[in-house]
Each structure stands twice: as structure tokens, then as C-alpha cells.
Assembly symmetry: C2
Homo-oligomer: 157 residues x 2
């Protein structure tokens, strides 16, 4: 683990960086770096967006004996540290993703359940209009838009 090698490339939030960041953030709060915390963060990154259940599943395939309780607790912690955040997609199951990952809004098809990711720039206009109208600042990486996807629309006709 080559920690401390971050230097000045602040414009490149890579995988290595996230791991280093985890250690740094934890240490700055007097918290401890553990294998479980690394595994959960790594799983969130690898899966893109996933439920606690799915995260647990993935980790179980890697090492043995990480409890689901720990996954829940760790996700809460990572969210508090603003390393991950969660969205409620589809059927009440919360899905977690990297907090820095502002790369997508979620389109959830209520017919087939498929999740499509789109560039948040599509919502730039709406974001501005909403801000002007209400002062509410949309977190575009945390949008769940429901509707019907192209394929289901076709099937429908």
C-alpha cells in the first residue's frame, strides 16, 4: 500500500487515491483503518451502485466472515465521512455509490426495472430552474427519475 504518494495531482481521483483518502479521513477523525472498511469501499466502487445485500454478497466472495451488520455500519460511516452516498432506486432498496461520482443520474423504468445512467448535464437546465424557483440545490448524482424506457414503450405499442 503506497500511501502518502498523493503529491499534487489533485485532479485525478483514482482508485489508489480513494484508498489513500479512506485512511486519511479515518485517521483525521481518530478512527481506525480496517480490512472491512477497505472491502466495503472497494465493493461500492466496483459495483457502481449496489444495495447493502449486494455489497455483502460481493465481499463474501472475496473473504470469509464479514457480517452483514458490519456492512450496514460501515456504509453508514462512509456516508457520514462523505465517501459514499445512497439513493433510493426502484423498490425501496437503497443503493450506494461513491460520493465523488457525480457522473450519472438514474433513470428507473417502472416497467422492467432497468436502471439507465445518463449524464447529469441533461439536468443542468432543470437544476438552474429549480434553484431559481425554490433555492433547492439538486444533487444530480442522487436523482432517481421514474418513467418508461424506450424498449418498454416499444413493447407497449
Amino acid at each position: 500500500m503506497t500511501a502518502g504518494a498523493a503529491k499534487y495531482d489533485a485532479d485525478m481521483p483514482t482508485e489508489v487515491e480513494t484508498e489513500t483518502e479512506l485512511a486519511a479521513v479515518l485517521r483525521s477523525k481518530g478512527l481506525r483503518m480496517t480490512a472491512q472498511r477497505q472491502l466495503v469501499l472497494e465493493a461500492v466502487r466496483a459495483l457502481g451502485h449496489a444495495t447493502p445485500e449486494q455489497i455483502h454478497e460481493r465481499i463474501r466472495g472475496q473473504v470469509d466472515g464479514v457480517n452483514i451488520t458490519t456492512v450496514y455500519r460501515t456504509l453508514d460511516l462512509l456516508e457520514e465521512l462523505q465517501l459514499v452516498s445512497h439513493t433510493h432506486l426502484s423498490h425501496g432498496a437503497p443503493t450506494y455509490h461513491l460520493a465523488g461520482d457525480r457522473g450519472h443520474a438514474h433513470l428507473v423504468c417502472h416497467r422492467c426495472g432497468r436502471i439507465t445512467e445518463v449524464e447529469p448535464t441533461l439536468f443542468a437546465n432543470a437544476r438552474k430552474e429549480v434553484a431559481d424557483a425554490t433555492g433547492f440545490i439538486m444533487d444530480v448524482g442522487h436523482v432517481a427519475v421514474f418513467g418508461t424506457c424506450a424498449e418498454c414503450l416499444e413493447k407497449d405499442q
Copy 2:
């Protein structure tokens, strides 16, 4: 309740109309009109958007002995009949609202949890852009946008 007085004001989807519609839709499927079904639909309309729990709570204040199980089953049925639909706002709790009620998108503040309703016209642009880009048709009455409300932003600074 003066039902049956609907006459010809078809441009006025009022409370009376919904009740009539319920009876009609049920009958057309060979299903039965019951007090419970009326009560649940009425509660959904009255509350705007509410969880099964809240709906049950309201009904309990009106009549006695309507079971929470029945509320769940009836909401499922009403959704199938396309009289109501549900959204997942905030913390995994599904909230139900009238299906015809396309009058609002939901802004959910992840700090204070408050839900602000805004005109869907604010998303007209995004809707078009998303449709053009992906073919996905946004259900604007079923949007949950997460972010930070004006008050919490102020408090933050």
C-alpha cells in the same frame, strides 16, 4: 356524500368523480366495491402523498378495525388499476398518491428530510433532452430529486 351527482362536468376531476371511477373500474373487472377500498382511495387523495402507515393511521381515525394488511393489499390493487401510484421518497418508505395527479415533482432534502413539491414544468426541458438522448420518457409525477433545500443551505454557511 352526494355521489351520483356528477352530471356532465367532465373537466373537473373532483372527489366525487374519483369515487365513481373507483366503482366503475372495479365493476369492469368483476371486483367489488367495499368501504375499505373507498376509504383507502379517499385517504390517498386527502393526504396527497403518504406511506401505508400514514394511510392506515388516517383511516383508523375515521372508522374502526381496518387492518394494516388490508391497506397494503388495497394499495397494491389500486395501483394495478392505475388509480394510484407510488414513489420512494427519503428513507425507503413508499409514498402513494393519486395516479392522475401529475401536478408535482418531489424535491427531497437529504439534510432535513423535508419534501418540497414543484411544478413539473421545471423539468420539461430535461424531459425532452432525456427523451432525445435515450428514448426514456420521464414520469414527472414520479420524480424524486435529492439535494439540499434553501434553508439547510443557509444554515450550513
